[in-house]
């Protein structure tokens, strides 16, 4: 059973091998779940929806949750562990795409690429209306990374090629890493030019970007979020940007996708993307292959490819 809308390639691959039910196209979800409670053995989730405690309770025959994402925030991992339900995700295959996009967002925000494009398309350049966008240099700026996992490290490697000094915050300092560690997010924010959210979403990291952090980052600082919407106190972020207390933002994720605060639409120092971090044809296919591969392995009693639980 799949929860949210998914990639046609994935749907096709699943339908070939399994009996697939698409929960989002079912008119009465409660009724569906109760009538199918004894037949559903697997759930395919993604960034938008997975398997929370309520769903797990309604599917007593559930054996495996295979997520079309690397993020696990929509899955009740503790409950899965308790009930012996396996969980898999799609790590590594999307690391490069997400890191590429993070850099793309940094360049787009600092160098006002989207706004420059808009200026040209509007005909203003031709008319001789002066170009007055506030372009900032990217090379050499200090990049602060929250979460130095696979994606965080990939972002660091890219930024280093632009001579950007790298600093980070993590649950604990990483041994053998040359980047500057900061023991708190506020401290990191106060000491970097560009702050990137690259950690997993857990109860501890919810609203890790709050008013205090935003104030520390300040009117010259830029926030890049390629994690999850709930990492950021979105209301605080919006007012900081509208009031000019934060220098800029590049956002790929939001509190309530696909709804994006409209106050951000007119801001030249803000770039908004529709959750495309892993959004390339090749990567989505690789992710889909992992989802299907994990499910097949499970039902053939073979070792799972990318198990989390």
């Amino acid at each position: 059973m799949t929860c949210p809308p998914v990639h046609p390639y994935l749907v096709e691959a699943l339908e070939k091998r399994f009996t697939l039910h698409k929960l989002d196209s079912v008119p009465d979800k409660a009724q569906f779940l109760s009538s199918h409670r004894d037949s559903i053995r697997a759930v395919v989730g993604n960034a938008a929806a997975g398997a929370d405690a309520e769903l797990i309770d309604q599917l007593p025959k559930l054996e495996i949750v295979s997520s079309y994402s690397v993020g696990l925030d929509k899955i009740d991992l503790a409950k899965c562990k308790e009930k012996g339900i396996r969980v898999t995700n799609t790590p590594d295959v999307l690391t490069d795409d997400v890191a590429d996009l993070a850099l793309g967002l940094m360049l787009a925000v600092l160098r006002r690429l989207c706004e420059s494009d808009r200026y040209v398309r509007s005909g203003l350049w031709k008319k001789g209306v002066g170009f007055n966008l506030f372009l900032l240099q990217f090379s050499g700026k200090t990049v602060g990374i929250i979460g130095l996992g696979r994606i965080g490290m990939a972002i660091a490697q890219r930024a280093e090629a632009f001579s950007c000094p790298i600093s980070y915050f993590s649950r604990s300092q990483k041994p053998g890493i040359n980047y500057k560690y900061h023991p708190s997010v506020v401290d990191l924010a106060a000491n970097c030019d560009i702050l990137v959210v690259a950690c997993a979403l857990t109860p501890e990291t919810r609203h890790i970007i709050n008013r205090e952090v935003i104030d520390a980052l300040g009117p010259k600082g830029v926030l890049i979020n390629i994690g999850r919407g709930p990492h950021v106190d979105e209301a605080e972020l919006v007012s900081a940007l509208v009031e000019g207390r934060l220098g800029g933002a590049g956002l790929d994720v939001f509190q309530d996708e696909p709804n994006v605060p409209e106050e951000l639409f007119k801001l030249e120092n803000v770039v908004l993307l529709p959750h495309v971090g892993s959004g390339t044809v090749e990567t989505r296919q690789a992710m889909a292959d992992l989802v299907v591969g994990n499910l097949e392995a499970h039902f053939l009693n073979k070792p799972l490819l990318t198990p989390v639980v």
Partner: protein, 334 residues
Amino acid sequence: MASPATAAVENLPQVLLLLHPAAFTIFGEEHFTSPKFRFLKAYESSLPLDEFLAANARSVRALLVSAATVVGAGILDLLPELRVIVTTSAGLDQLDLAECRRRGIRIASAGDIYSADVADCAVGLLIDVLRKISASNRYVKNGFWATKGDYPLGSKQLRGKRIGIVGLGRIGLQVAKRLQQGFGCTVSYNSRKKKNPDQVPYPFYQDVRELAANSDALILCCGLTEQTRHAVDKEVLAALGKAGVIVNVARGAVVDEKEMVRCLVEGEIAGAGLDVFEDEPVVPKELMELDNVVLSPHSAVLTRESMMELARLVVGNLEAFFSNEPLLSEYEDD
């Protein structure tokens, strides 16, 4: 009766400006002033240029230009005492270098100050085209994500992409470093001369068409010369192919623009990121309709930081000239 202060100013050597520099507008003229010289602004006069110069510029020894100020024999004839041209641009294609050399006129360019910013622009444009950043930002800001659904997927990640750099000078080398070391791309290049392989580890292609045939993206970083004019022509674009992307941070005329536009409209190449055009500020209207094209108004160097560096360098070069000291960034023919 002129005051001593006015007399002092009037005794300062003059620096001629033919056009109002973009840098003055963007950053502020006050950053380019000095107690050691004053500006003579031809563009503030209602006289036709040649009359103005004949009347006012016969003893002018220094000229400050930008990328847009074309200086050929005609202008030089009206400036018999000219000894130095300082430009705010890294490129020198707007100057008749042979004429300058013949007349013993020295040239000071913007040197290396822009290289990082131009390289950053090139990489930013490339990622934008491949991952549709400007197009999907537009989509979201138009309110379409909530109403029309997800935006179409972008193309492959950068890792392993074959990048062909045309012109491996200071800018090209910075682009190469960012893409190969940072993103895991595979860089090759074409340049006037093959570089020392001990210093430059990237494969060299004598022929731009062959470079294009072996590249997923072409990034143009060369100066505009007789040899590079329309270097990216119909054959090169065909060799680049339907999945190929072109990024131009060099000069518009390095590309056969009309042919490139046709290729983009007809899907013969996959996309383009363009900071420069053949006839700025005119941009072919067909490009304005395309989502696989990202456009910027020759603004790759217009960061706060580069403008600050530029002001320092321009003032430094002019002050050095008037003090008979070596120029800070003299252009040497090689």
